[in-house]
Amino acid sequence: MATPARAAGRAPVRFRRLALMDFRSYARAEVALDGRPVALFGPNGAGKTNLLEALSLLGPGRGLRSARLDELPRVGGAGGWAVSARLDVAGEERRLGVGAAASAPDRRICRIDETAAAGPAALAEHVRFLWLTPAQDRLFTDSPGERRRFLDRMALARNPAQARAAADYELAMRQRQRLLDERSRDEAWLAALETRMAEAGVALAAARRETASALAAAEIAAGDEDAGFPAADIALEGELEAALDAAPAAEVEEAFAERLRRNRAADAAAGRALIGPHRSDLLVTHRQKGTPARACSTGEQKALLIGLVLANARALALSARFRAGASAPLVLLLDEIAAHLDKDRRAALFDILDGLDFQVFMTGTDKSLFAAWGARAQGFAVEDGGLTETTLT
């Protein structure tokens, strides 16, 4: 039966072919994909995460490892690297490519349909990635910064313009701090930067609120609870986020700029801005148990996390922009997805993923982890710097 997302008639995206050249552990690799979910399995160090990272670089940003460009070319290669893909977007072929030339390794090249793209942001018009990696397993016990980035990435998937607000806020904040560090008393200059901080900061906080409430709505609608993915209560802890409850954005902006102005001396002494959306936190609670996520078991935390990512994927599928075809289709990258999950939860997860209608890429160390997919997914053994197609049953 068609799910509501399918019935909406928006363009699904399917990777058809992926080619890597001198990327990380791969000298040269090429895979033909048939549009089913993809399961990659192989021993530690085989190159599974590298492949997901390659895919993630076909979107804006620094990919799922937040790597620097100089880490990407294969050690022992010529110094350049390339990742290219052929996608099927609603029956039309799209070619995306990223890489860097050996002669200019610090310049990321982006190509769309074999012509140079203005920048990585242009890629976001064609495909967007959401990912979950083992590095996020500690999300609930880590510092607030990790949770903030997690939330901001989810917000980014909803609205690519979000990247601009986050980057603008960060830059304006650093520029202002430099002025404060230099003991500058140039009122007009500081005010100019504080105005930028307030504009971008409030946009950032507003996007987070929107994402959090979409998550909550999607989760209530989904009812994954019976499938072993506990429902979570989500709350944002942050001054601007809270202020937006009570006042329109323009007022919150003005008030924040004013507080920054009054905080100059304190911020100068502290060496950083003491207030602002760069200090917010995402609070997650296991709804049924009423316990904060950080106090849950390892497996429960993983399940909560997967639940959040699924809720976000669902929320995206339901969003008006998405259904109208105004935002690019989504691809899910799930690294080590089966770790910490028992057999029943794995099977339940695969069923949910199968129903999502986004192309999904998963990795795990053993083929047996993916057995429950049966013929519904395309399997690849990753070893010796290459991929070999294998059935999952």
Binding site: Q175, R176, W189, A191, A192, L193, T195
Partner: protein, 203 residues
């Protein structure tokens, strides 16, 4: 194995090192350019050397607007046909050229020579701001258009300028929203630029 440098004479190496300093050229492309110049000694290399020397001697920033020219005031400032009541503020001469190419602006210009950026050590004193305020005070000037990039640095520079121009009796405007300007002006097609200029609004 032979190392790169020992094989190349000092004169040639110096040329390559200098070429490598040009924007867009790295060590490899600088070598290629040097080889090309040597091959085209008469048709390209000597005329280039002459043009470089001439430009180094004669081209200077216009003392009024900051535009590069061999006369001062520059050809634009000296052009009596232009509308002296509107001054368009741009980041670089490249932006001025883009606006001129598009025929988007019939008034005068003011080239800042960069954008405010504490992290890069660029402050108000490094930019051509004092002269702008002076010019804006002249009675003949009715409008100052801030054609600066929609980036954090571009917008905080615009904000800073509006504070300092607040005392002058001029209308402050900026290009219509959503149009990337400044360093990016150069990449915009001419129609877009002209439209952005036509639909400018109060800053």
């Amino acid at each position: 194995m032979p190392t790169g440098k020992g094989q190349i004479g000092p004169e040639l190496q110096r040329l390559i090192d200098l070429l490598a300093k040009l924007p867009g050229l790295g060590p490899r492309s600088a070598k290629r350019a040097a080889l090309y110049l040597l091959k085209k000694r008469e048709p390209v290399m000597r005329p280039l050397a002459y043009a470089l020397a001439e430009a180094a001697d004669k081209v200077a920033a216009c003392s009024t607007c900051g535009n590069w020219d061999s006369i001062d005031p520059c050809a634009i400032c000296a052009d009596a046909e232009r509308d002296g009541s509107v001054i368009c503020v741009v980041q670089d001469v490249g932006d001025l050229w883009a606006l001129e190419r598009a025929g988007a602006h019939r008034g005068l210009y003011h080239v800042l020579g960069g954008l405010l950026s504490p992290l890069d050590g660029v402050g108000p004193d490094d930019l051509n701001i004092g002269r702008l305020v002076e010019r804006a005070r002249a009675e003949s000037v009715k409008e100052v258009v801030l054609a600066l990039p929609a980036t954090v640095d571009g917008q905080s520079t615009a904000h800073y300028l509006s504070e300092h121009l607040a005392g002058c009796a001029v209308a402050l405007t900026r290009l219509s929203q959503g149009v990337p300007v400044g360093g990016e002006l150069d990449y915009l097609d001419e129609g877009t630029l002209a439209a952005a200029m036509k639909t400018r609004r109060p800053a």
